[in-house]
Structure formats: C-alpha cells, structure tokens
Amino acid sequence: MSAAVEIRDLSVRFGDYLALDRASLSVRPGEVVALIGHSGCGKSTLLNAVAGLQAVVGGSVASGGRPVIGPGPDRAMVFQSHALLPWLSCRDNVLLALRPRFRGEARVRLRERADTALAKVGLSAAAERRPNEISGGMKQRVGIARALAIEPEVLLLDEPFGALDALTRGGLQDELSRIVEESGTTVLLVTHDVDEALLLADRIALMSTGPGARIAHVVPVPLQRPRDRRTLAEQPGYASLKHQLLDFLFGGQHAAA
C-alpha cells in the first residue's frame, strides 16, 4: 500500500536561511502522525509544504501517490489562527470551501454537506452566527468542520488548539480523536504539546531545531485506543514514552529537574 503522505529529502530555504534540510517522513493511510519540536523549528513550514502552500528548493512531497505541486482537495488544513472569514456566518465559511470542491452540485446539497459537517463538531445551533459571536473553541471547531466537509484524504492540523485555554483544548482534543477514529482520515498534526501528541498520535515525529531542521526520530505510540485522557497515564509504557519525548525536547535536563 502506498503512503498517504510521502515527504522525501525536503529542503526549504527562506533567503539565506535553510529552514528544512532533507527532511523525510512517511505517513500511512489512516494513520495519525504528530509532528513535534520547538517553536520555530520548521514544523509549520513542513506542513505548509505538504499543503502545497510552501515553495521548496529540494526533495518532494507526494499525497496518495501523486506529487504535490500546489494545494489540492485531497488535503485540507486546519489553521492555527482559525482563519475564518469574519464577514461570513459559520455555515457560509464552510460553504466557501465546499463550492470549489463539489462544483456543479446543487445549492441545497452543498448546504446539507455544510450542516452535516457543523453537526459533526456539535455546532448545528451556531450555523447562522458569525465568528465574532462565538468562542475561540467554537471558531476552531468551525475550522475543523470546514476541513472535514471537503472529505479530504489527509487532514493537516497546524497547532490547532495552541491558542485555546487548557479546558477547551482538552474537550477539542477528545472531539478530534473521536472524529478521526470515525472517519479514518489520515492526519498530520503539528504540535508542541507532548500530551496532545500522546493522546492523538499513532506515531510521533520529532523535529530537530533549525537551521537545517529535519525529522530526527519517529517514535511509535503503542497505547491502546480509544484513549481516555484520565486513564492514559496508567497505560503501560506511557511514562517511559513521555520521558523519552521530554528528553528529546529538553536535552535530558528534564531528568535532573
């Protein structure tokens, strides 16, 4: 079976600054891979390259076996800053993404799709409301609904819960993990939150810090599913796994602290 996402020797340069230096990562269909690393290490750059938003100077990205040359309907993105259009209602924000994806479909059918997507994230009641009338967590859910609505093969999430408070974040992580398990979508998730990665991911890709960042390790997460944040820490292997990740991120200082 071919990989859902195949990143091979990818290099990205911003002027004189080499952000990514031959980064490689393979994501299997239906798999959730978390990309973790310090801020500014190039995680988002890598994700943008997969989305087709980022010009690269070397290497290649393929999605579903097809080379990525730009954005495409097989890949949908959930942005860190929700990126909803403030003059559109939640439903219209979802419709904006649906129209180009399902060209020629009747307006009624598109509306059904939008409402189904909003229902999936529990926002049916907020369909008519504008982004400034809903909470930060709800905005991010609309962002997820917008991405899911186009039925992508790969869902790309760029620190989707980074700007939310801890309680809201927890609720959304649970919801995302349920949705992903139901839909079987392949997920590439950028995060700097070790607990988020352990809760959601099948494998965790650790990025070294730039310049010239690359994927340093890929760590499998053999924890049972469905995962429950309350009992996750009691699963065998959790502690050593978390220790290993923190060691990587904080250079072993964590053990001494």
């Binding site: 989305a51 087709g52 938003l53 730009g70 954005p71 495409g72 309907p73 890949r75 949908a76 993105m77 942005f79 800053s81 990126a83 259009l85 403030p86 003059w87 559109l88 904006l96 993404a97 129209r99 180009p100 994806r101 504008r130 982004p131 400034n132 917008r146 186009i150």
Partner: protein, 284 residues
C-alpha cells in the same frame, strides 16, 4: 463601615463642559459685538477692496442675536426659488450637495475598480504609482482654471474638482486594502481551491470593504471642503457662491449663518459615512 461616597464631578458628565463653554463663548461674542467696544476704522486698503461698503455704519461683526435673526430670515425663504438671482439658502445648499454627490460618485466609479486592479496587480501598481505620487499632492483648486477652460462650464468644472479631490483617498485606500489581504485568508482561498474570480469576489472584495469605507469617508470630507472654494470661483449657485455673494454685499450675518450650516452638513455627511462603515464593515 461606610463606603466613601463616589462623587461624579459635574464636568465629567457628557455635554456639560461643552454647553458651559458654548455659553461663555456666546456671551463673549455678544459682549464683544455690542458691549460698547468701538469699531476700528476700516483701513483704506480694505475700504477700497470693499468699494466703500466698509465705511458704512456698523461694519463690525454682527452680534449672536443678529446672526440668529438672520438665520430665521434665511430659513423662512430657504427653498424659495422664485427670484432667479436670489435663491434661498437651502437651494444653494442642495446644489452644492448635488455637485458633491455627483463628483464623489464619479470618484467611486473610477477609484474602486482602478484601486482594486492596482491592489491586485503589482505590475499595474509599479506602472501607475509614480503618476499618483505627482498628481496626489496637487491642490484640487489648482485644476480649477484649467477645468473652466476645458469644460467651459463652471458647474461642470466644480464637479470635476470634486472628482479629482475625492479620487485619491478612494483609490489609494482601496488599493492598499486589496493589496494587504491577510496571509491567512489568502491561504484559506488557496488551500480550498477557490478560483481567481472566487478569491477576488468572495475573499478580497469583502476583506477590502472596511478600507473602502475609510476612503469613502475621507473623500467626502475633502469633497465638502473643496466644493465651497470651488464655487467661490466662477459658480453662479451653491453654498460657496452664496458666501461669496453675501461677502460682496457685506451681509456678514448671512455669511456666518452659511459657515455654521457648512459645518453642520459636513458633520452629518461624516456621521452618515461612519454609520455605513458600521453597517457594512465586519467585526472580528
């Protein structure tokens, strides 16, 4: 335990200070114009300019009561158009507003599409920007003689002046708004595969609306400034002509009434455009 009583100072209440100041200024005006202060003799040059009118008795500034009386008199025949050479002040005002509306609408018709095109096309911007840079600082009134010569009609020339003065704020704000589309919104359009046309129509245009409204508000303010001056040169109607005509007749009280009226109308225009901004802009 007693809580300290919170006292709100009288001058912290909205309007109180402004009303008090107004009363003081009116009183000062009244005292200065009627309080026995002797009017200085007009200097000869001024008298010559006035054709001797300044030498008439009572050539000093009118008192507030006199202005008020004049305002009542002007209001009573504000829309009287029976004597062609002596139209009511309301009709002059409507003529000016009509010219501003026409010139401003033309500026919108040209400025919006052109500003949009410039904002979306860096090449077009590079080609046109040097011309804008040199045209923009020209006082609109500098065009007046040329406009009169070319258009051979004072009303048309005034409308052209309004067009020229209203064009730049609309054009440049629209261009800046369209060019400064937020990267995240641009990325949304790209990721979800919106066509070029869809991106412009559904993302860039609505995103630019607040900047367009800023340009529209700035430009109507400038247009209202400029129309008065433009009508003083050559026009046979309009509020600017009215002031100049009253000046020639040394009707100082009527001039002052017209000055206050111009202020009031300008304020109303600004508020109308601000309301449009709240209505059609978007909150984040």
């Amino acid at each position: 335990m007693t809580r300290p009583r919170r006292r709100i100072h009288l001058l912290d209440r909205p309007g109180v200070g402004a009303i008090l100041l107004g009363v003081v200024l009116l009183a000062a005006w009244h005292w200065a114009t009627t309080g026995g202060s002797v009017t200085e003799a007009a200097d000869p040059e001024y008298a010559a300019l006035m054709g001797g009118a300044a030498a008439q008795a009572g050539a000093g500034l009118p008192s507030p009561l006199a202005v008020l009386e004049k305002a009542g008199e002007l209001a009573s025949r504000a829309f009287d158009g029976s004597t062609p050479g002596n139209l009511g002040i309301g009709l002059h005002l409507l003529v000016s507003l009509g010219r501003v509306a026409l010139g401003w609408a033309m500026a919108l018709a040209v400025g919006l599409p052109l500003g949009f095109a410039i904002g979306l096309s860096p090449r077009l911007n590079l080609a046109l920007d040097p011309y804008f840079q040199i045209l923009r600082p020209i006082s609109p009134l500098a065009w007046m003689p040329l406009a009169l010569y070319a258009l051979k009609d004072s009303a048309a020339a005034a409308i052209f002046i309004i067009f020229i003065s209203a064009l730049w704020p609309i054009l440049l704000n629209t261009a800046a708004g369209a060019a400064g589309l937020r990267a995240e919104w641009r990325n949304v359009a790209r990721v979800f595969g919106l066509s070029r046309l869809e991106t412009v129509w559904r993302v860039v245009l609505p995103a630019t609306v607040p900047m367009i409204l800023v340009g529209a508000r700035l430009s109507i303010g400038i247009a209202w400034f400029v129309i008065v001056a433009a009508e003083m040169v050559g026009a046979q109607s309009g509020i600017g002509y009215f002031i100049w005509n009253e000046w020639n007749n040394l009707q100082i009280a009527a001039m002052i009434v017209a000055i206050f009226l111009i202020g009031g109308v300008g304020l109303a225009l600004d508020h109308a455009l601000a309301a449009a901004g709240r209505r059609w802009g978007f909150a984040e």
